[in-house]
């Protein structure tokens, strides 16, 4: 593909401008990242559109390198003078640094991987403000018909990310993304649903609105239950937002810094037999480019196999320091975080939320979690709140809505107590980036306090 938003020829032109300017300063190694994007977001509340925005932006980030030293300068001005100034800034910053012995050379052209993922759709790229407003109005109408108030967003974006270097590297990734999120509210209850997809046609706005409405209606007049250890059924968004907090620790640099909960534990069985996790950019429900911040091809990697933490991701520089093999998960250099797994897939099981409810004598069904923060990093003890649809299950049925709980729960402990898993879906929340994960039934989940609603 070659999108008008950022033509390949324009990328080459920018690289040439940067390369010539760098050469004038005696620097030959130059890496250029160019991102161009268009993002529109229609936001609604109180059953009407109240904010409606569109942003067109471009970004050129230039990294120069000389004598094992590197620095980055960025601009959103695309004229030749601004690009030359960014090159000059980058070179002046790198020259005051000490050499970094393990700093890798710029990558040579890789076996091209950007053809292997296709994540651009016409349906998202051509979505107009009126089309977004029409879909939003349909969702609002569904809420209004049940006497509820709706709030949410429908966003559509189109981006192109290109990474080129003076050594001949050329990576190019076009992508679209559509996201719909809705909260339906009554006086003392609320329900929520959210999904994202690279294809607007795959996003069923009406079904999501119906799901949020049903939760709001069903959680009316919530009861207050005492805090304590409960069996919980976490819907995929709740699993995403809680389990997602541990993945920055699956990084070689984090291990090297002794800042990861996996420090000294790689190879140990930390979770239950039913927990397996991969990082897989090629998964059909995943998004993002198939190359990392340096242009390395992203590899499919097993991070957790049947409960055993088996691998972490490695950037080229961290791999060089630790005699490891880079995995294609590096962040743009220079940086202190090293690398991150960004395409997580948590394997599922043969259960469903309905089956989990039916098998539960007494427990809590959780739609989403909110304001999750780390209390203790080695146990990955997290605190946060339930939100927008928390229900009591008794005798295999959802019986009533309940007031929201605060939890204080270790992720390592939780993933050792998973009794059932559903089918993995592309889950979208608010506390971490989207990933592919299933619903989970977990025993002895620790709710420490109850709030006022």
């Amino acid at each position: 593909m070659d999108l008008e938003l950022l033509p390949r020829a324009r990328c080459t032109e920018i690289l040439e401008t940067a390369r010539k300017e760098a050469a004038a300063h005696g620097v030959t190694d130059v890496e250029v990242t160019v991102v161009a994007g268009s993002e529109a977001l229609t936001r609604f509340a109180n059953n009407g559109i109240h904010q409606n925005v569109d942003e067109r932006s471009r970004h050129v980030s230039i990294r120069c390198m000389q004598d094992r030293r590197t620095a980055r300068a960025a601009t959103n001005r695309m004229d030749a003078d601004s690009i030359r100034r960014a090159v000059s800034d980058s070179i002046s910053i790198l020259r005051v640094q000490q050499p970094e012995e393990q700093l890798p050379a710029l990558l040579e052209p890789q076996a091209t991987v950007d053809r292997e993922v296709h994540r651009w759709t016409e349906s998202v790229a051509r979505c107009s403000p009126a089309a977004r407003a029409t879909l939003v109005r349909e969702a609002i109408d569904l809420a209004r018909q049940s006497g509820l108030t709706a709030a949410g967003i429908l966003s559509t974006s189109e981006t192109v990310e290109a990474l080129l270097s003076s050594t001949g590297l050329f990576c190019y990734h076009p992508q679209t993304m559509a996201t719909f999120s809705i909260t339906a509210m009554d006086d003392d209850s609320s329900g929520w649903a959210k999904e994202s997809s690279t294809d607007l046609a795959a996003l069923d706005v009406r079904a999501l609105a119906r799901r949020a409405v049903e939760k709001a209606v069903r959680s009316r007049h919530p009861q207050e239950l005492p805090p304590g250890a409960y069996t919980v059924i976490l819907e995929p968004a709740a699993v995403l937002d809680l389990a997602g907090q541990m993945f920055p620790d699956f990084s070689g640099t984090s291990m090297e810094d002794q800042h990861s909960f996996l420090t000294g534990r790689l190879g140990e069985k930390l979770f239950g037999e039913n927990i397996s996790i991969t990082d897989d950019v090629f998964h059909p429900l995943q998004a993002g480019p198939a190359f990392d911040g340096e242009g390395m091809p992203r590899q499919r990697l097993t991070l957790v196999d049947k409960g055993v933490a088996v691998e972490v991701v490695w950037s080229r520089i961290a791999a060089a320091r630790n005699s490891k093999r880079p995995t294609g998960h590096g962040l743009p250099l220079p940086n202190e975080a090293g690398e991150l797994p960004l395409n997580l897939v948590i394997a599922g099981g043969d259960s469903t939320v309905e089956k989990m409810i039916a098998s539960t004598t007494r427990g809590i069904l959780v739609t989403r979690l909110w304001y999750i923060r780390e209390v203790e990093p080695f146990a990955k003890l997290m605190t946060g709140m339930t939100r927008d649809g928390t229900f009591l299950i008794q005798g295999g049925e959802v019986t009533t809505g309940v007031r929201n709980f605060r939890f204080n729960q270790g992720i390592v402990d939780m993933l050792g107590k998973v009794e059932a898993l559903g089918e993995p879906v592309r889950a979208s929340g608010e506390e971490t980036f989207d990933m592919v994960c299933p619903a989970m039934k977990v025993s002895e989940f620790n709710f420490s306090e109850v709030t006022k609603f």
């Binding site: 529109a40 229609t42 509340a45 109180n46 059953n47 009407g48 559109i49 109240h50 904010q51 409606n52 925005v53 569109d54 942003e55 067109r56 932006s57 471009r58 620095a71 300068a73 960025a74 601009t75 959103n76 002046s92 005051v96 640094q97 970094e100 403000p129 029409t134 109005r137 108030t149 709030a151 967003i153 966003s155 999120s181 810094d257 002794q258 800042h259 220079p334 940086n335 202190e336 909110w370 304001y371 923060r373 209390v375 203790e376 990093p377 080695f378 605190t383 709140m385 939100r387 605060r406 204080n408 729960q409 608010e430 620790n446 420490s448 306090e449 109850v450 709030t451 006022k452 609603f453």
Partner: protein, 485 residues
Amino acid sequence: MHDIAKKALAAALRTGVSYADVRLVDERHRTLTTKNGRVGRVASQESLGVGIRVLADGCWGFAATDDCGKEGIEAAGRLAVEIARASALARIHKVELADEPPVRMSWTSPCAQDPFEVSVETQLTLLLSCDEELRREKGVTLSETSMEINRTRQIFLNSEGSDIDQRRTTTGAGFTAYSFGAHEIQKRSYPNSFGGQYQLKGWELVEELKLRENAARVASEAVALHSAVQCPEKTGHLILDSSQLGLQIHESIGHPIELDRVLGSEANYAGMSFLTLDKLNHLRYGSEIVNAVCDARLDHGPGLGTFAYDDEGVAAQRVDIIRDGQFRGYMSSRETAAAIGQTRSSGTMRASGWNRIPLIRMTNVSLEPGAQSLEEVFGGVDEAVYMETNKSWSIDDKRYNFQFGCEIAWEIKNGNRGRMLKNPTYSGISTEFWNSCQAIADRRHWILWGVPNCGKGQPEQVMGTGHGASPSRFAGIKIGGGHQG
């Protein structure tokens, strides 16, 4: 730059547009970090663009572009109007704005020493010397330092005749020492977590912070925490340092008083507020000694929320939020003020850049200094737990129930520091907490802290806010529950 802004305003003023404003923003940023004696990130960034906001058919439309040429601006103006008209497909009422007189002015924030004129080499040398000092302490397994410098020039024009040119420079710096033990990671930060202290100042802030002078103490505390006693689970007196109290203000006063949250605009994301309209002037928010203001004026101090005019062209103001314990005011915009029948916005609309719409954001939301000496705050009760420096923070989406964790605590007995306590947490309900306030230290101990990472809105906007506070004591607080799990 003025020419571009004028062209943008002209592009927005099309048939059927009842109001328009444009913000042309030119931003320059420098980031430096070190880790374990190595340079982590050194980067510079610049960004120029224009955001065009219009009211057409009674609805808002907004389009932003970094193509500041004639065609780019024309296209953005057209798109803003098209978006506003699309919004009208799901309109519930016509937007009305509280009156605001037009103003023409320019303003530059005080900056004694331009941080961009201090060489990168000098800045890195300081950070690396702090980093080295942290690692001198045996047991420190990870040292991190950082510095952030930002300069923004914004030209605001609106269809009512306002023309405001503002330049703001902010600076921030700090460090953290981590210590990994057998089954535990402890950390200590200086002068605060979230990368340190940030203010509307230049390089002079970095010199005032005395970073290097504090590195050895902070490193030794990080290591000492491993042998400290676990903070007990109990209900009792709690004393907070001013930085932690600043974040407590942010979460349990600052966010709940955002009038857009109260009116439901943030219901899907950041949430709503327990401060429903019936509570105004009727809720006892805190004890009688609790007085809180929202103050964007320079008189309040060089905070991250200090400016001359907000991003709707409304002058910086000081608004009473809590007076003698009673709830007295919200933070508002021209639209929300009109919606609840108030005559004027409180001037708190802020956008994180040219590419975002202004939202109601905290400016400087501060607890006024009290009448007590520090000795009275610490010595007024037989026993208390004193906590310093935020480590974790969480609050529900209506801002009732919170839980905070701090990096370090000490037992206080008869006003004296006793044993060090590790993993301290406390929790409660916002109004119950502020009503339990027994003592607030006087102005000598009041610090205007900068919180650089406040998130709100969709698409999300990250904003810097200011919070002044002095060490204070609270009674009957649930302590230590978070870490017990």
